[in-house]
């Protein structure tokens, strides 16, 4: 035997080993720097199957910030405390297919804390379902923050429309504040979508417009009519919608979308997942009142406005909008008084939504009153006037006439 043969054999072995080590070393850190072997496996094994079954979800995930940061499928899909019932055995992994904020908050706790204090959380759910589904603790917590908006009865109109309308209609939007068995509230994917988990999508006006649309809360239509919306239509493609939230500047978003004004931390200002931090009025209510943190919230919003507009301009917009709020309140109050008077005098029954006049009165504040107020704050002139005040006037005349007829009928019937 020559020593040379042994030497060559060992050199060959070493060459193979070094090749293997180099291949392993060339793998992206996100793939191998994981807390345990199961997570490493999840970086590729899940996609290997699902790209054949649901290609789009894998593709969407691969384009996401989560993927570039080395987040694996298992990071989001691993069952959290309280999700024991949803835990399923899935090809060697223990996962939950039902993702709630309990999964998101593992990494985004502060964001969850902001969200859960917002009206997007429990108040949004309670607007349809009342306190049903909320634990006593959740209801108490949210009611303290939003007195009167959580411990309330289920929506009377929705009840009359029936469960199918609630399930496929109301719940689609109001589930943004859905309570879960794991104790969390909300649905992060409503705005960020599921596997894309996108900040850019959440910043798109259309994302907010999924729910903030139509005659009862026509924010997207108002935005599209406003100068902001026109600029977005023209220059939206030039914006850096994916910019990191904490370092977002007007260089990234020189045209605002809904999120820019209501949530983003523009030019160093605090980013928030509680839009209420910048809202000074309860515009959705029949009679709009100032929010408890009116001054602070208005200041917060004005600071954001000030990144693009001068102070006199901002003050003028606010002054004019507040005048619209006051006048709309007066008009709505008049209609409410009229219907209340009819009810008090026994002209109308005790149950709501039984007579055509109930619906005219409801539309007056729910459609036209809200539209007029939102239009005033969001630069939607047509919505203040034709879709707002004109309709308010028209419906008040209709109400007066209907009330007269009803009273006449009522006295005739006596």
């Amino acid at each position: 035997m020559s020593f040379r043969s042994v030497f060559i054999a060992i050199v060959i072995a070493f060459a193979l080993i070094i090749g293997a080590l180099l291949v392993q070393r060339s793998r992206p850190r996100g793939e191998v720097d994981q807390p345990n072997a199961e997570f490493v496996k999840a970086t590729g094994k899940c996609a290997e199957c699902h790209s054949r079954q649901q290609y789009s979800i894998v593709h969407e995930f691969e384009m996401s910030k989560h993927a570039t940061e080395g987040v694996t499928c298992l990071d989001c899909h691993q069952p959290q405390k309280g999700q024991e019932k949803d835990k399923i055995e899935h090809n060697g992994f223990q996962i939950t297919a039902h993702i709630t904020p309990a999964n998101c908050r593992v990494c985004h706790e502060q964001i969850y804390q902001e969200f859960v204090r917002s009206r997007h959380a429990a108040p949004s759910w309670a607007a349809v379902f009342g306190a049903e589904g909320l634990t006593a603790e959740q209801a108490e917590f949210a009611e303290n923050l939003h007195p009167g908006y959580v411990k309330r009865p289920a929506n009377a109109l929705a009840k009359l429309e029936g469960p199918s309308a609630i399930g496929s209609g109301c719940a689609s939007c109001h589930s943004v504040g859905k309570p879960h068995e794991d104790g969390t509230i909300g649905n992060c994917t409503a705005c960020h979508t599921r596997h894309t988990s996108s900040v850019a999508i959440a910043r798109m006006p259309r994302t907010c417009g999924q729910c903030h649309m139509g005659p009862d809360h026509s924010q997207i239509e108002i935005y599209e009519e406003s100068r902001h919306g026109i600029l977005f239509a023209a220059q939206g493609r030039l914006l850096n919608l994916s910019a990191a939230p904490k370092s977002l500047t007007t260089r990234d978003m020189f045209v605002p979308t809904c999120a820019t004004c209501h949530m983003s931390g523009l030019n160093g200002f605090k980013v928030t997942h509680n839009p209420g931090e910048r809202l000074s009025y309860f515009l959705a209510d029949p009679i709009t009142k100032k929010r408890p943190q009116y001054t602070e919230a208005q200041q917060n919003m004005k600071q954001i406005c000030n990144q693009c507009h001068t102070k006199p301009f901002i003050d003028r917009v606010y002054t004019q909008a507040e005048q619209v709020v006051t006048s709309t309140n007066e008009k709505v109050q008049k209609s409410l008084d009229l219907v209340a008077g009819l009810r008090k005098d026994g002209v109308l029954g005790t149950q709501p939504y039984q007579q055509p006049i109930d619906f005219v009165a409801f539309d007056l504040w729910h459609y036209d009153g809200r539209t007029s107020k939102h239009g005033a704050f969001m630069g939607g002139a047509d919505f203040v006037q034709w879709h707002g005040n004109y309709e308010l006037l028209k419906k008040q005349v209709e109400l007066n006439s209907m009330a007269e007829e009803l009273r006449a009928k009522h006295s005739h019937g006596k």
Binding site: A9, V11, I12, L16, R27, A37, G92, Q94
Partner: protein, 278 residues
């Protein structure tokens, strides 16, 4: 009679090779059952190697029995040719199917890592070729022994890739996962030199030592895989076996070591015969 049987098996490495092949096809039946259960036999074609392995083992037993009883080689040969060629076909088709699970869509190292193990079906090609070789190459000859060494070398080269890609799925999270890669590389190096013509007794002994090392590594691997499955993420042991560390995969090393040792013994026998003639 007993002596006659004993004589029939003594030094008959070709018969032992046949037993080795039957054992391998039988083991592959169970191995495929586990491996394709991971995919829940989603593709109907995944049943082909399962049924084929079982049938091949039975047919080869029949062929071997007929050779031993009647001393007639014809049936043994034709069964072997048939099973051998089908085995090669199953193996080649298997590589295609395995790569189709991801690699054909995205030609990246990652997709190769997480696709079904592309080298695994090559086991059928190897077994099929061995069946054909055992019938086409006369025994006992140096050529026969060298073919066995070559197939062992191929097996270790394949297992080098397999243990590399299998453990890459875990990102070599534990350092112990590198052991089979290192030991297969060592086997490839030594067997390559043996095949290249370094057949001196001392080098052959070194090769035997390297092969014994594979047996140690393989059985240790079996224990480690079984332990990993006992502590797997699922409460169900069966689920951990199917989706976790394949317990029988490390036994491929002792399996190949036995094949290599058969080749070494045959080489030794031929060398001794040649020495006796001179």
């Amino acid at each position: 009679m007993e002596n006659e049987t004993r004589n029939q098996w003594a030094g008959a490495h070709d018969l032992w090779l046949e037993v080795f092949l039957i054992f391998n096809f039988a083991c592959l039946t169970g191995d495929i059952l586990l491996a394709h259960s991971e995919n829940s036999f989603r593709n109907r074609a995944e049943y082909i190697p399962l049924w084929f392995s079982g049938a091949a083992a039975v047919l080869l037993v029949i062929g071997l029995a007929s050779r031993l009883r009647s001393q007639s080689l014809a049936r043994w040969k034709w069964i072997g040719y048939g099973v051998g060629w089908i085995s090669i076909g199953v193996g080649i088709a298997g590589v295609g199917f395995h790569l189709e699970s991801g690699f054909f869509y995205e030609h990246t190292l990652k997709s190769l890592t997480y696709a079904a193990p592309f080298a695994a079906p090559l086991a059928y090609v190897g077994l099929g070729c061995l069946l054909l070789m055992n019938r086409l190459v006369p025994f006992p000859t140096r050529e026969w022994a060298r073919w066995v060494v070559l197939f062992t070398l191929g097996g270790f080269a394949g297992n080098f890739g397999l243990s590399l890609s299998d453990h890459a799925v875990n990102g070599f999270f534990r350092w112990t996962e590198w052991i089979p890669v290192f030991s297969c590389a060592l086997a490839v190096g030594f067997l390559l030199m043996l095949f290249a013509g370094e057949e001196s007794p001392t080098f052959s002994k070194l090769c035997a030592l390297v092969l014994v090392l594979q047996i140690v590594v393989g059985t240790t691997g079996f224990a480690l895989h079984a332990l990993a499955d006992l502590h797997g993420p699922s409460k169900n042991f069966e689920q951990n076996v199917i989706h976790g560390a394949p317990p029988f995969a490390p036994m491929l090393l002792p399996n190949l070591a036995i094949l290599g040792l058969l080749g070494l013994l045959a080489l030794d026998r031929v060398a001794k015969q040649a020495h006796a003639r001179t």
